[in-house]
């Protein structure tokens, strides 16, 4: 029987890995991810989880071990955060190039300096070009659900790519919420064991990851691009199947909240989405025609979905909890990219909550009211940093 437990986002990730019958776990601890691997270590030590738990000396080695395990046909899992994820960079690219469905949890934490352990999406978004599928979670339940779903999506023969399931530092990772821990049999029914067609096997030796000369390299990379093109449909298919089996919709590519016929569309990612939904309710009660799109899947980027979603919309207000220097907020930039030549719409990028700066309902409401005001006054500036000390009075009033 499934049971409800009060668990942190970190424990939800660990239980997600357990229910996915992960066979190899290789990880290195880092705040605020440590509890994920501690919990898995405990589950393995107590015999509740049948996995090889490999202690490694770095995140780079953690992903290397997962790659080797996945190449050998094992379902592999790791978890990291911020600087640990950055150290993994080379191997994140390797995992996608080698087409290995390694799933990891990343706890979104700001990158230093200044040193910070608090919520910020820059760590994950700095890895957006590594060929990982990226799922941004809103709740602890979604963390558990997304780990299970990620294996199902990634191990599909048309996809065969690695994925990152990400959750905001402390806001989810260390905050306890009721989470349904599914019955193992139910998960087994949904997620069959991993059995790739090619794997490391001493009886049938194969060579993996060898040289690709210029006359073939590009063709191999094109195959990855093809898999990414198929990924959106696969994600939605698995999302639907998940809903049928577990009675819960984790949000697919974009979760739409009261978006029908709206004039103003607010876009959020991660944990601020739940607070934002309350604010949307409040604004709608006050007569504003505003809705929210929660960008759940950042890779593959839901280009078509944004085009559909913005039909008839006057203003798109995007809240980015990250900033790429010399470019802007990642979500806003990519949405603009998706809408180019398709929609004539005002789009404003709000840089919010970097390094864990608190995003209260009041601040979120002021951001949304600013977006709403653009309908009449037009775009005042493309990018605005919200709640900097120099403009705090405006956003907190």
């Amino acid at each position: 029987m499934s049971e409800m437990k009060i668990v942190s986002g970190n424990f939800a990730a660990a239980y997600g890995a357990k229910l996915s019958r992960v066979e190899v776990v290789a990880a290195y601890p880092i705040t605020p991810q440590t509890e994920v691997v501690e919990k898995i270590a405990e589950l393995v030590a107590e015999g509740e989880m049948d996995s090889e738990y490999i202690k490694v000396e770095s995140e780079h080695s953690a992903m290397a071990a997962c790659i080797a395990a996945s190449n050998a046909g094992a379902r592999a899992y790791t978890a990291s955060s911020a600087h640990g994820l950055a150290l993994m960079h080379e191997l994140l690219i390797w995992a996608s190039g080698a087409r290995l469905p390694v799933v990891m949890t990343n706890i979104n934490r700001a990158m230093g300096p200044p040193w910070s352990v608090w919520a910020d999406h820059h760590d994950t978004l700095a890895q957006k070009g590594t060929g990982q599928l990226q799922f941004f979670c809103e709740s602890n339940q979604e963390v558990l659900d997304s780990v299970i779903m990620a294996y199902k999506i990634c191990e599909d023969e048309d996809i065969m790519l690695p994925a990152m399931v990400v959750e905001d530092a402390f806001i989810l990772s260390h905050t306890k919420e009721p989470v349904e821990i599914y019955d193992q049999e139910l998960v087994d029914e949904f997620l069959p064991s991993y059995d790739p067609d090619y794997k490391l096997d001493v009886d049938q030796p194969l060579g993996f990851g060898s040289l690709g000369m210029p006359d073939w390299y590009m063709d191999f990379r094109y195959k990855i691009a093809e898999a990414f093109e198929k990924a959106p449909d696969k994600i939605m298919e698995v999302n639907k199947e998940f809903e049928e089996v577990f009675g819960r919709d984790p949000g697919g590519l974009i979760e739409e909240y009261k978006t029908d016929g709206v004039d103003v569309l607010i876009v959020t990612m991660g944990s601020i989405s739940s607070t934002s939904k309350d604010v949307i309710d409040e604004l709608r009660e006050e007569g504003h025609n505003v809705g929210l799109a929660r960008l759940r899947t950042f890779r593959p980027f839901p280009v078509e979905e944004f085009r559909k979603l913005t039909k008839g919309v006057n203003v798109v207000g995007v809240m980015d909890r990250s900033y790429t220097f010399g470019h802007g907020g990642d979500a806003a930039r990519e949405i603009k990219d998706a809408l180019y030549g398709h929609r004539d719409v005002i789009l404003k990028d709000y840089i919010v909550g970097l390094g864990g700066r608190d995003l209260t309902p009041k601040i979120l409401k002021n951001v949304m009211l600013d977006a709403i005001s653009l309908q009449d006054k037009g775009l005042d500036r493309e990018i605005e940093w919200v709640d900097l000390r120099i403009n705090q009075e405006r956003w907190r009033r």
Binding site: G97, L206, S210, L211, G212, D219, F220, K223, A227
Partner: protein
């Protein structure tokens, strides 16, 4: 393993549709990729001078020299022409010559 046995996963791929999803081969990829083609200098062994000491074999970073009955024999499929063998040969039996003169 012969060259013909390589890529049994995919025989004679024409384009990306024939390839496995990643670089997965039935045998070491060097059988497909003759890295010796990168060479600009070619070691020429004077077998009259060669004393079969095996120093060149020991130093060759690409395992491309074998000391046979007749002396040191270079595998030009994989020798990249670094010249270490010529430098280390105690009797100066190896001379580096321009690859262009041989192709």
């Amino acid at each position: 393993m012969s060259e013909e046995e390589v890529f049994r996963i995919v025989i004679d791929p024409k384009d990306h549709r024939d390839l496995p999803r990643a670089v997965i081969t039935d045998c070491p990829s060097h059988l497909m990729t003759k890295t010796g083609s990168w060479r600009t200098l070619r070691p020429i062994v004077d077998l009259e001078e060669c004393i079969k000491c095996g120093i060149c074999w020991k130093f060759c970073p690409d395992v491309s020299i074998e000391v046979k009955e007749e002396g040191a024999v270079v595998d030009y499929d994989y020798c990249k022409g670094c010249g270490i063998c010529a430098k280390e040969c105690p009797v100066d039996a190896i001379e580096m010559k321009k690859e262009a003169d041989y192709v």
